[in-house]
């Protein structure tokens, strides 16, 4: 959408320029030069479009096709046999009915909401606090900041394997540590208690998400001119007051982008949950994403998996629209 408007703008601009040129009275071009200029313009425009082709092809192949395919699939009885025979009978809304009326759906939906809200809240608050902390000048600032990026650089499957070990009830490092401090007696069943597992999974996801929040927010903070703080301090705005009246309002465009992006990322988290708990114990960490994955790739109910996937896409879409608005506003400001 934005691509086409950009293009028409550049097109308009170039024709405008050409008009201005041709409108010049002195040394006006001869009749012979006009068509040449027109072919040059045309060639330029062809080039403009050609530059777009790779992007359009890429988007259509890797985003358009799967999304459309997924929507189509969700209205079909798509089984393993479909892959060989190509036959997938239409079943209308049956897949959606099955998926949405299953007793597991409400659990997954609630878990998805809790997981997303919890993760975002934790990531954002800690990320912002760290970003503000790192704004001060102190030795090793740069090294520490790059060390904090580590969770981001680790493959998710590695992170979840390490955390699974840390959170183990009997021999996990966390329980050892808490035990040595005398905080707990017996092992806390982080990943095997239905009331703790979701909290533990959210905790790990917060750990993974902090670097992203830290980086973007730190960048946003750098943009705020020092003069504002200087002026503020003259008026007595320091510390918390400076944060409330200078930092927060100035940072808001970045904040909305970070939050919306975070929500979209978090909604679809799969690897971390599969790696830590597989959706267990007793579905207490099952989200829409993991359930959709299970339906498709373990139970081979591709139609139902696709239907559930689309539910997630729609939820994400709401936030994606919010993101587009937020980012446009951020650019405008």
């Amino acid at each position: 959408m934005s691509l086409t408007t950009d293009l028409s703008q550049t097109a308009a601009r170039s024709t405008g320029k050409a008009k201005a040129k041709s409108g010049r009275p002195a040394g006006s071009p001869t009749e012979a030069q006009k068509p040449r200029r027109r072919t040059r313009q045309r060639r330029e425009r062809i080039f403009q479009w050609l530059f777009l082709v790779p992007a359009v092809v890429y988007m259509a192949l890797f985003f358009g096709y799967p999304v459309v395919k997924n929507v189509v699939m969700s209205f079909q009885d798509y089984t393993t046999a479909t892959f060989f025979t190509g036959e997938a009978p239409w079943v209308g809304l049956a897949n959606y009915v099955t998926v949405l009326s299953s007793s597991l759906f409400s659990t997954s939906l609630l878990n998805t909401a809790l997981f997303t809200i919890g993760s975002i809240l934790g990531q954002f608050v800690i990320g912002l606090a760290l970003a503000i902390f790192f704004q001060r000048k102190f030795p090793l600032n740069g090294i520490l900041r790059s060390l904090l990026l580590l969770p981001w650089l680790l493959p998710l499957i590695v992170s979840s394997a390490v955390w699974r070990w840390i959170l183990d009830k009997d021999s996990g490092a966390l329980n050892r540590f808490l035990g040595d401090l005398g905080i707990v007696d017996t092992g806390v069943p982080w990943l095997t208690s239905t009331s703790l597992a979701l909290i533990a999974v959210v905790g790990v996801n917060i750990w993974i998400g902090i670097p992203f929040n830290l980086t973007i927010l730190y960048g946003g903070l750098q943009e705020i001119p020092d003069e504002l703080y200087e002026a503020g301090s003259l008026d007595g705005a320091t510390g918390w007051k400076a944060f409330r009246h200078i930092t927060w309002p100035m940072l808001r465009p970045v904040v909305s982008v970070v939050l919306v992006l975070g929500v979209v990322y978090t909604l679809k988290v799969l690897d971390i949950i599969l790696g830590l708990t597989n959706g267990g114990p007793a579905n207490s960490t099952q989200t829409i994403a993991t359930q959709s994955y299970d339906l498709s790739f373990h139970e081979f109910k591709f139609g139902e998996g696709a239907a559930l996937g689309n539910v997630l896409v729609i939820i994400s879409l709401v936030f994606a629209v919010l993101y587009l608005r937020a980012s446009r506003r951020a650019v405008d400001e």
């Binding site: 425009r45 050609l50 082709v53 393993t80 479909t82 095997t192 267990g280 007793a282 579905n283 373990h298």
Partner: protein, 412 residues
């Protein structure tokens, strides 16, 4: 304005052409295997998931040998276990399946149901002497599509030193199992370890107690299955089994056993190489206990079947079938079973194999009565297996009694 419109149309057409053309070109790459069937076959392709040593070499050697016997060279591809099925489905939609395909036995139903596999009877491959469970694992709608040269199952491993010290003999009934596990639980050490995680592995480990007690996967809210689930629940509730079992894999269970943190464990013979690497560890293997003395211990059948996909080239399929038959010859079964710590799938080889490999004797005995997971339900197995592990998790976390957990899951 007019000229602008004219100029944009052509690149647009180009873009559309590229969009339409690219997928066509991509799919065209895939259909090159349809060679004429009159050609002499010199090479056949094989796909399996033995991508780790030492199995990778053992299977590779057997394939090469069988290829030589059939007069073809083997072009083998090994993929990670988890990605095999998605790869097979991709290949079946692009009609690029290999000539010989290995599948994990519970997955055979799904692939056979697609029509992508050829019945082995078409190639006159003998199915004589195979254990009943092995044949039923390879059978879809009364036709045999896959044969496993060697198979495996699970049993009860016990740490000899720990049991001796505590004066405990390996249990044979559920009561003995409970008593022994309780007695062997002290400090850091649990009496027993098994896996009850929310995957098919958790279901697989529960099947022996469920089946031996007469439970049935078609209908899980029965007295027999409830009793079995009660046993699992009791063991966790009493603390004889760590509640971490809810999240452990079979490999985790093995690690606990090797570290001396579990006196007994439910596991399979594929762990033997790892266990043998620790010479101080003295272990024995017995059948998984039954509720009452006199019941038969029924174990689930594991292992991979070899199949001949419908590639459309009769000559290649015939060669592929020769290779599959060769892999299943008596001689190859014995050799592969020995090096891979698995069990020959022909019952006629059982006694000889057990006497030559005493470590695997219990497993060999179990294979005779082992059941295939898909034997009753066919393609319905994954859905039902999901219900079983859901019920296990619900009961073990105390969210519902075993009876209610099973009822809920069955109704799901």
């Amino acid at each position: 304005m007019k000229s602008a419109q004219r100029t944009t149309r052509r690149p647009l057409a180009l873009a559309v052409a590229a969009l339409v053309g690219l997928p066509l070109a991509l799919s065209a790459c895939g259909t090159s295997t349809a060679a004429s069937s009159s050609e002499a076959v010199t090479e056949i392709s094989v796909m399996d998931y033995y991508n780790n040593e030492p199995d990778k070499s053992f299977i590779g050697d057997a394939l090469t040998k069988c290829g030589t016997q059939a007069g073809v060279t083997i072009k083998r591809e090994t993929v990670p276990g988890k990605s095999l099925i998605s790869k097979v489905l991709q290949q079946s939609s692009s009609k690029t399946l290999p000539d010989v395909l290995m599948l994990d036995n519970p997955d055979l139903q799904q692939i056979a149901a697609t029509g992508a596999l050829a019945p082995l009877a078409d190639f006159k491959i003998s199915t004589d002497n195979f254990a009943e469970g092995v044949l039923s694992a390879g059978t879809y709608k009364d036709k045999v599509y896959g044969l496993a040269p060697t198979v495996n199952t699970i049993a009860l491993f016990y740490n000899k030193d720990i049991l001796d010290k505590a004066g405990v003999t390996p249990p044979t009934t559920w009561d003995e199992l409970k008593a022994a596990s309780a007695k062997l639980t002290a400090g850091d050490q649990y009496g027993l370890a098994f896996n009850a995680n929310p995957t098919y592995e958790g279901t697989w480990q529960f099947l022996p107690v469920m089946w031996s007690n007469g439970g049935d996967e078609k209908k899980i809210d029965t007295k027999e299955t409830e009793q079995a689930l009660q046993l699992w629940t009791d063991l966790v509730k009493s603390g004889s089994v760590s509640s971490s079992a809810l999240n452990w894999t079979q490999a985790d269970v093995k690690d606990q056993f090797m570290a001396g943190k579990a006196a007994m464990m439910v596991n399979g013979p594929w762990q033997i190489p790892a266990l043998d690497k620790q010479p101080t560890l003295q272990y024995g293997v017995v059948k998984i206990p039954v509720r009452e003395a006199g019941q038969t211990s029924v174990a689930p059948l594991g292992g991979e079947v070899w199949t001949v996909p419908q590639t459309g080239n009769k000559a290649r399929q015939a060669k592929a079938a020769e290779v599959v038959a060769c892999l299943n010859s008596d001689e190859n079964q014995m050799a592969m079973a020995k090096v891979r710590n698995t069990i020959p799938s022909k019952t006629t080889l059982a006694d000889k194999f057990a006497s030559e490999n005493p470590k695997l004797a219990t497993f060999t005995e179990l294979i005779k009565t082992a059941r295939a997971r898909t034997g009753e339900l066919g393609t319905e197995w994954p859905a039902q297996a999901t219900k079983i592990y859901t019920a296990i998790q619900t009961a073990l976390t105390g969210n519902a009694s075993p009876a209610d957990a099973l009822k809920q899951a069955q109704g799901q």
